[in-house]
């Protein structure tokens, strides 16, 4: 359902993503791991059709994200880094806006909105302006908008970043609940999250895929834990100059 095929992206001579390839099939939750500036968000933006690769192909549900962009995006739910949303809108309004843009109207619009807000556990906060919500609720509002059209593919860039432990559990439960019917790619810095809900881990550093295996295999190859594996694969890249490099926002 998700296929990155030798994706390459350069910014002003700096190669942010260098021939990255992996796939995610229906029923899989794949963790996309790497230090800051490794190329995770840039890869996800290319898969979401927000950024054109310099070379290689990004496919969602067999549609090329750039040649057949709108068909690919109609199968995709995307939560960008930082979960951006319109502060003057309510969470309900934001979800409805996304659904209307996808052609929903009438009873289908109302039902999809209700289900998405329930799944993201917005509760009474659904009718408050997003700008007045806590960080956790803002992220839930953006997540609700990403899943509202029940897409077969989800790309979530750090969906639990900045959430408290209860909120993290809520988002993890939601992802586990959706997992059997969807292909889900999640970027995260939280290695316990990988153990808790991911069937596979793709580790990326310096724009290149270092390993693509189940969390257990990754841990076994690199000293018994995911943490030691992460350090082993990316430890030499913790220089802050390198780790602060990220592609420009769209």
């Amino acid at each position: 359902m998700i296929r990155a095929d030798r994706l390459i992206k350069r910014f002003a001579g700096f190669t942010a993503v260098d021939a990255v390839s992996f796939t995610v099939e229906r029923g899989e939750v794949v963790a996309f791991l790497g230090p800051n500036g490794a190329g995770k968000s840039t890869t996800m933006r290319m898969l979401a059709g927000c950024l054109e690769p310099d070379d290689g192909r990004a496919l969602i549900a067999d549609f090329d994200c750039h040649i057949d962009r709108r068909a690919a995006q109609s199968h995709l739910g995307y939560l960008p880094e930082g979960a951006p949303a319109y502060p003057s809108m309510t969470a309900r309004g934001f979800v409805r806006f996304g659904l209307r843009a996808r052609g929903y109207s009438g009873a289908a619009l109302e039902e999809a909105t209700r289900v998405a807000l329930d799944r993201a556990r917005l509760g009474k906060m659904a009718d408050k302006a997003i700008g007045a919500l806590s960080k956790g609720y803002k992220r839930r509002a953006a997540l609700a908008a990403a899943i509202a059209h029940d897409p077969p593919v989800l790309i979530l860039d750090e969906p639990t970043d900045g959430l408290d432990p209860n909120q993290k559990d809520g988002v993890r439960d939601l992802i586990r609940e959706m997992a059997p019917k969807k292909a889900i790619l999640i970027s995260t810095h939280l290695l316990d999250e990988v153990d808790a809900m991911c069937s596979r881990a793709v580790v990326i550093a310096e724009g290149r895929v270092k390993v693509d295996a189940t969390p257990a295999e990754v841990a076994r190859q690199f000293g018994g834990s995911l943490e030691s594996a992460f350090r082993g694969l990316t430890g030499s890249l913790q220089d802050p100059v390198i780790s602060d490099q990220t592609g420009p926002r769209t």
């Binding site: 992206k9 979401a48 950024l51 709108r70 951006p84 806006f97 209307r100």
Partner: protein
Amino acid sequence: MTGLIAIFRREVAAYFETPLAYVFLSVFAFAAPAFAWRVGRLFDTGRADLSPLFDYMPWLLLVLMPALAMRAWAEERDRGTLEVLLASPIALYELVLGKFLAALSVAALALMLTFPMWAAMNYLGSPDNAAIATAYLGALLLAGGYLALGQALSASTPNQVIAFVLGVGACFLVTVSGAPFMLDALSAHMPGAAAEALADLSALARFDSLRRGVISLADLIYFLSLMGLGLGLAMALIDARRGGGR
């Protein structure tokens, strides 16, 4: 079209969910009659027409339209919501046109706020209402041209203040390119035919004929082309964001 309608609805709501539309409409409702009365001496002309209102309209629109357009893309880029839009299955022309039509609707509402002046003229005398209607059409077309330019410049930066300043500058150039002082200055540095050709690009001259009640196909094509140019440029700049600056 569903994408265009969704964007249009969101943009109109966004104008009224924040103080922006109310401030804009209040300033316009105060400034337009103030120019007509105080500067244009509306009641001193002894004629029942709205010429003094439209005499100063280009200068008012020149400042207020970039203020309305500056947030269109600069705000999306600054907040990161442009990524949400670009990841949606909405055609780029729907995004640009939806934003433009929403801003044009607010501009049309602002022009409607001057209708009491039209009613007053009809109460006091018998103005040429066909000419006034043409002048309103001209003002709306001029507003559309300025909004389209403003939207293009909003797409060039994530900073709304810069977008506003660039927008006012571009609208000023388009407006004054045919003004006598500009023609004098230009004719000293370029052949007369080139200076005249540049004068033909002046929005002020095009608006002037509409203000006097004359509709010509050339003027309509001019304003539609100005809108097309601005919106096309906005589309190109937003599409370039997908290329990551390539």
